[in-house]
Amino acid sequence: MGGYGDVKLLNDDGSRLDGRTFDESRPVEVKAGVIPVADGSAWVKHGLNEVVCAVYGPMEAHPRKIQLQDQAVIDVRYNMAPFSTSDRIRPGFNRRSREISKVTAEAFASTVMVERYPRSKIRIEIEILSAEAGTRCAGLTAASVALADAGIPMRGMIVGVASGKVEDTVVLDLDKAEDNYGQADLPMGIMPTTGEIAFMQMDGDLSMEELQQAIDYNFAAAAEMHDIMEAALRARYDGGDE
């Protein structure tokens, strides 16, 4: 974590600075089908984070050397727009975005039914428009909805959620200040329909008890967010919620 010493992250009465309870997520909004030319797409607003994702494919995998004979290749690009952060960032890949792209691709390779599309490629393009802590999770959520929108078969939708620790307290869904000055962060990609974890990273300092608390928070939040994702897909294809 990027701790910079003593920054107050909890109020005197023990509540969070933005008024949320410890197990309360920032508001999440999801829309499916926002990129007309893509095979599938989604838009996610998670707190102040804003993410769009396009899915193209399955398509021929080229160059041929990247082809897998018995399954599809999942090709993920996580990219931050130059204007997505407080200080402008130079366009193009860096070490951070490459790593996130890699582990995100591996998460979806484990949930998409890749064996149905040998020698092909599925492109997942995640674009971060606003970044305020938690973009990799918002990207996972957006990519799941975009894959479903593209009609690509999966064992379940991965939901991106995170918990962390601020002032020795485990809390769900760190905001920018909590992420910058907190003590730990545990982003996870959870499939609520099967209870499996497809994505996990962690940094900071957590006891085993705190880890269990963070995992519990993440699972509960993922189940709630899954409903929002499903409602977005229903709104696109059914014309409204059930």
Binding site: V37, C53, A81, P82, F83, R123
Partner: protein
């Protein structure tokens, strides 16, 4: 950019339609698609706009950076305008360093804004010879459904017109609105089925030929032109386009005015 196969049937179909003064979308020759402009829509940008124009979606974000001025212009700020055609925007776009297509887009939009003189560069001076603001304009194409030049140009000027100079964040005074005195507007025409049309869509661009992009300022004066892609045109065709261009630019300028005032 991946090479796309142009279906010969589509090309023939567009030519047949053009002969009957029709378009594949049912639009008239000089008729644009439905257009939505939203400003101040990106949380971390200092100025922003989103344009949804038919199947095309473009975001533009403005950021400011502190720079040392050029030695020959010690009180003048600067402008940088870049475009990215990332693989998110179409299956034809591939990852990698900026393509010639994205560089052309960024430079055409840049010229229209720069040459119109709509930004007073001397108003961006903080300490002469030491520090000035650089305005950085990033064009982010999210969906290329045709005519990204006009969508990018419109989003760019709208984003500039609602931009706030973040002086407080850099500890050099109080935030203030960027002064933008004019509204240059870009209009693009594409040869489809042998004749020019306004605001070509994805299919028309795929099977079309050259395009002409023209930027006009508030008083009708011209600030930039660009002929792109394979094909040639005549002066008669150019003057016909210029008449339409003036009307379309006025309409779009009114749209920008209505969103940023």
């Amino acid at each position: 950019m991946a090479k796309q196969v142009v279906p010969q049937l589509l090309r023939q179909h567009l030519a047949n339609l053009a002969a009957d003064d029709e378009r594949i979308s049912g639009r008239g020759q000089w008729e644009g698609r439905e257009l939505e402009l939203e400003v101040d829509c990106l949380y971390n940008a200092d100025g922003s706009a989103k344009v949804v124009w038919g199947d095309t979606v473009v975001y533009v974000g403005v950021k400011f950076e502190l720079r040392e001025p050029y030695s020959d212009r010690p009180t003048s700020g600067s402008l940088m305008c870049g475009a990215e055609l990332r693989p998110v925007a179409h299956r034809k776009y591939e990852p990698g360093p900026p393509s010639p297509e994205s560089i052309e887009l960024g430079r055409v939009v840049d010229r229209g804004i720069r040459e119109s003189g709509c930004i007073d560069m001397n108003a961006l001076c903080i300490v002469p010879g030491e520090s000035v603001w650089m305005v950085v304009l990033d064009i982010h194409v999210i969906s290329d459904g045709g005519n990204i030049f006009d969508a990018a140009g419109l989003a760019a000027i709208a984003a500039l017109r609602n931009a706030t100079v973040p002086a407080a964040r850099y500890d050099v005074g109080e935030d203030y609105k960027l002064a933008v005195s004019l509204t240059p507007i870009i209009c693009t025409f594409t040869r489809v089925g042998g004749r020019y049309v306004y605001d070509a869509d994805e299919e028309e661009e795929l099977a079309g030929a050259e395009r002409l992009s023209i930027t006009l300022g508030d008083n009708g004066s011209m600030h930039s032109m660009q002929k792109g892609l394979k094909g040639t045109f005549t002066t008669a065709e150019l003057s016909e386009i210029l008449d339409v261009c003036a009307t379309r630019c006025d309409e779009l300028r009114k749209l920008v005015d209505s969103k940023v005032e």
